[in-house]
Amino acid sequence: MIHPDHLPHTQNGEKTIFFLHRHWHVVLQIFLAILLLYLIPAIILFFFWSSTIAPLTSHPFLGPLLFLVASAYICGVWLLAFVEFVDYYLDVWIVTNKRILNIEQLGLFHRTASELPLNVVQDVTSEVKGILPTLFDFGTVYIQTAGETRRFVFKEVPHPEKVKEQIIATLEQERVRVNASAKSTVPEPLHL
């Protein structure tokens, strides 16, 4: 379990700036999908109950069969909701004053975790594209290093502009701190 104050391999003076999950609209989508999966059969049952379904439930063979099928469906949809939520929840981006961690759950037994020192970050870009992202302020943040390929992508995170500004501010503070400590360790030139 990741504890917010005790990340793996914590460095000296390292502080967590923020944890990021995807925007809450992902959870809302899961909720609405599950609601539809429960509502649509319920509506069908409601309209066809007395004419078709009720006589079948009293059948000594088809009644139990219908019961088992309905039970499996209800349990299966609930399990699906949980699986989708776990997939959403285990995607996390952690930004500290020293590094950026990108942890993505790609499937039940497929997880990738990447770490990027803050001092190699060259460019941070935020993108908000579309009506819903604009209204609810969520989007993508791209973290670019000096290399050619884009390293980290924060997908569907809330307040991407603020995330970008916070990362840049943290980067600047860290660079100032490193420069200050570098100057203090450089020996003074000899005056001959």
């Binding site: 917010p4 004419s51 088992l68 349990c75 699986v83 039940l108």
Partner: protein, 91 residues
């Protein structure tokens, strides 16, 4: 030739499904506990999920009691007792 099917045979695939449900849930719970962030929201989700799962299982077990699973049926008699017109009331 009449083929007789005991009703409890239907419970076998359902039991397999329940086993799959339990193991898949445990895998997901394991991932949450191992890789999740230690915060109250995660524990709340786990409690809600397990609570509703227990409720569903209890409801299913209660529903089991409404049927006699030991009876057997002929395949031919199963389909002769149902209406061929699905959307018409059975007279």
């Amino acid at each position: 030739m009449n083929i007789s099917i005991p009703l409890f045979i239907l419970l076998v695939p359902f039991a397999l499904f329940l086993l799959f449900y339990i193991f898949y849930s445990l895998f997901n719970l394991y991932h949450l506990l191992r890789y999740g962030i230690s915060e109250y929201k995660m524990f709340l989700v786990i409690v809600v999920y397990m609570g509703i799962s227990i409720f569903l299982f209890g409801s299913v077990l209660y529903g089991f009691q409404q049927f006699d699973w030991l009876v057997s049926f002929d395949l031919s008699s199963i389909f002769s007792n149902t209406s061929t017109h699905l959307f018409e009331p059975i007279l």
